[in-house]
Symmetry: none
Subunit: 139 residues, 4 copies
DNA sequence: GTGGTCTAGACCACC
DNA sequence: GTGGTCTAGACCACG
């Protein structure tokens, strides 16, 4: 796969959450890199385009990019935008990728416990949601 | 079941999270009420006791209690502490309680999608974590 | 009328009262919104400015704003301050606005009754005070 | 008029208010003395009776009585209850009694101003409420 | 004993 | 610049 210019539409945010926008972006980019959806040498959409697409302040996007740059995940190419660093590699081992959602699963567990929900119920509900999600993406 | 004086140990917080402590408490109390672990007319542990037990500032606890009071979930009984309002009822229907974790499940789904994880994997991982949790609570 | 940045001087508090400062502010803002003096989309003066202007602790102002936010009357615009929610509408009907002081009038009535004051006297006194107030504001 | 044993029903409180109960009682007794409804040498109803009648904690009543005692308005007669001090005299001059509600009127004025209500309207509303009150007490 | 209010000040998060 | 969170401590109000 050769270097690509990614479109602004690859990112989604939810404004209703208390989780800050720049952090939603950072975590999202991390995951998409881990999964190989975003590859080394890809050029990210410009701050301005993403901001316009999401309807947020450009500084918010810039902050997310800058923090990823300071981690060595992105590289600033003057006049050309942000590129994914060559050293960054996707996590091919599914088992390792799975570990990345452990925190979310632990939080879920705690909530289920406090709600006195049965494991079976929660798991069934989750699989239902997975099915729905899959169907709607196939349409 | 008659009114009880609840102990300070019913609440847990996690300091590692970015979620503010007072908000963790609010959500936790909401869930415990929904599950019937905390019942109408129960008296919550005092602000000072909870603060001492969790090692945080009393005002932090007070803020959680006050916000729940302004929502009508708790009632202040002057000089006697906070009580769960009589109008508040547990959610007996498991299906309805299940709905309360839908947001967490949706967030999980989004993350899994971005990580390109298979539904089966995530579900298996979750059920594993459930089993571990159950075992450790049985010890 | 377009959105405005309101000045810190729109609020007054009285320290002589037992009514907490944050509550005085809340009720005052409610009334000024009802009267249309403060409009949807207006930006309130910053917590720090109001605090400096009134000579109180910023947290006291922040508490008032936060509570109004949790009621849906104000909206927090991250990094930009608090704005009056669009859904909030002034009460154009004078009759309805009049209803908002009914509680104060009822309290007055009760006091007058206990003091065995004649209605005429109280009303005359009140109209006198209104006249004085009007004159002093015209100076 | 000779000394009387007053009944517990002479006091009313409103629990919905933020004004503390003991303070409501104090102000009420002050006003009833000023108006001559309660006279020197009258014996107030017992703490226990008032508490039972109002459905509040006896300590609350006791606190109100004690504070009035420390002001010299009431006198504790061992085994016989609280009596209104002989030195206390009603305010016969209506004009002076009128002054006692000035604070409430000033608060009303401020609220009316913030609500941009016309003086005429407020006064008319007040007189209406006076009429209603009079009618209902005549029934 | 209960909770509430306020202060002073530190630090964080967001834009 | 904006508001939010938390702390430590004082003091008040209520029962």
């Amino acid at each position: 796969m050769s270097e690509r210019q990614l479109t602004p539409t690859i990112f989604q945010i939810s404004t209703g959450t208390s989780e800050p926008i720049y952090r939603q972006l950072i975590e999202q980019i991390r995951r998409q890199i881990a999964a190989g959806q975003i590859c080394p040498a890809d050029t990210l959409p410009s701050v301005r385009d993403v901001a316009a697409n999401l309807g947020v302040n450009p500084m918010t996007i810039s902050k997310a990019y800058s923090l990823l740059e300071s981690e060595g995940i992105l590289e600033r190419h003057r006049g050309l935008g942000m590129r994914v660093a060559m050293g960054v590699i996707p996590i091919n081992d599914q088992q390792q990728r799975l570990e990345l959602i452990r925190p979310s699963l632990m939080k879920l567990l705690e909530e289920a416990k406090q709600l006195e929900l049965e494991a079976d119920q929660v798991i069934f509900f989750l699989s239902e949601l997975f099915s729905q999600s899959k169907r709607s993406s196939n349409e």
